[in-house]
């Protein structure tokens, strides 16, 4: 069992999947589901970087994954006006936190507000990142397109 886990890790294919409905406590803390935690590389140092997602949710990256994004930013020329703005827009909303002894992270209030998350949170495994949604917002999001799962699959997965 442990062996398989290691193999997958070496291949860099330790991805997040699945769906969990948890609660946000009065302090804004959210537990990271054990199943997802098992996919996090030790390189992440129990640290996660949160930022606004592109669709009204919060994106949560294990530190090692996030650092790949920052590595790309480092290659840009920060003195170039466009690249500079690029860097600021990305980093502006990024905030990091380390798991506490109960495997929770503290979500900044502004992110919770952005995603309209209050007491309940839908935690979504999404490949290299974890997404936090207001459950109702997510249900709405799914409805927004007239396409059925079958139609979308056919389009996206076309080889």
């Amino acid at each position: 069992m442990g062996n398989c886990g290691e193999f997958i890790q070496i291949l860099g294919l330790n991805l997040f999947r699945g769906q969990f409905t948890y609660s946000v406590d009065s302090k804004g803390r959210v537990s990271i589901p054990a199943k997802l935690r098992k996919q996090v590389s030790a390189d992440a140092n129990d640290t996660f970087v949160m930022t606004i997602g592109t669709v009204n949710c919060i994106d949560v990256y294990p530190l090692d994954q996030w650092q790949q994004i920052e590595a790309k930013l480092l290659e840009l020329n920060a003195y170039q006006p466009k690249d500079g703005k690029f860097i600021r827009m990305i980093l502006q909303n990024a905030s990091d936190d380390t798991l506490d002894s109960q495997s929770r992270i503290l979500i900044p209030q502004n992110l919770l507000k952005y995603a309209k998350i209050e007491k309940e949170v839908l935690i979504l495994g999404a490949l290299k990142k974890i997404e936090l949604w207001n459950p109702e917002v997510f249900a709405e999001y799914l409805k927004q397109t007239p396409d059925t799962y079958e139609q979308i699959a056919a389009e996206v997965m076309a080889q």
Copy 2:
């Protein structure tokens, strides 16, 4: 835990990120947010170098990072008119200070004036440096671009 932190530091990937709204007191002092302070290398010796940014903000570098900037400046040809002018402009406005016992630095008045910062200051983690903005100026700056966050995120976060 400490070990991993050191590794990241060795790789030069201890970067600044996030956004903080703090106040500037009557003497021109600004606290450096604890989260940013944690990313500062011990080599910096609690010392920061401030200078004008290229876009109406104040750039704040930990001493060790600033020294890398100076190394680059040394590589320029000071007798080349453009290079010489750039060197003079940066250094003219460069000023250093060490954290006081409350983790604050004193910002020179001319820099505050340059960035139009008065009572409130937006502190931005921007990779190797920290930027100080007038919050309204920054909001204006973000609006000025045709690019949306979604577009930029799609470009950087992809893959």
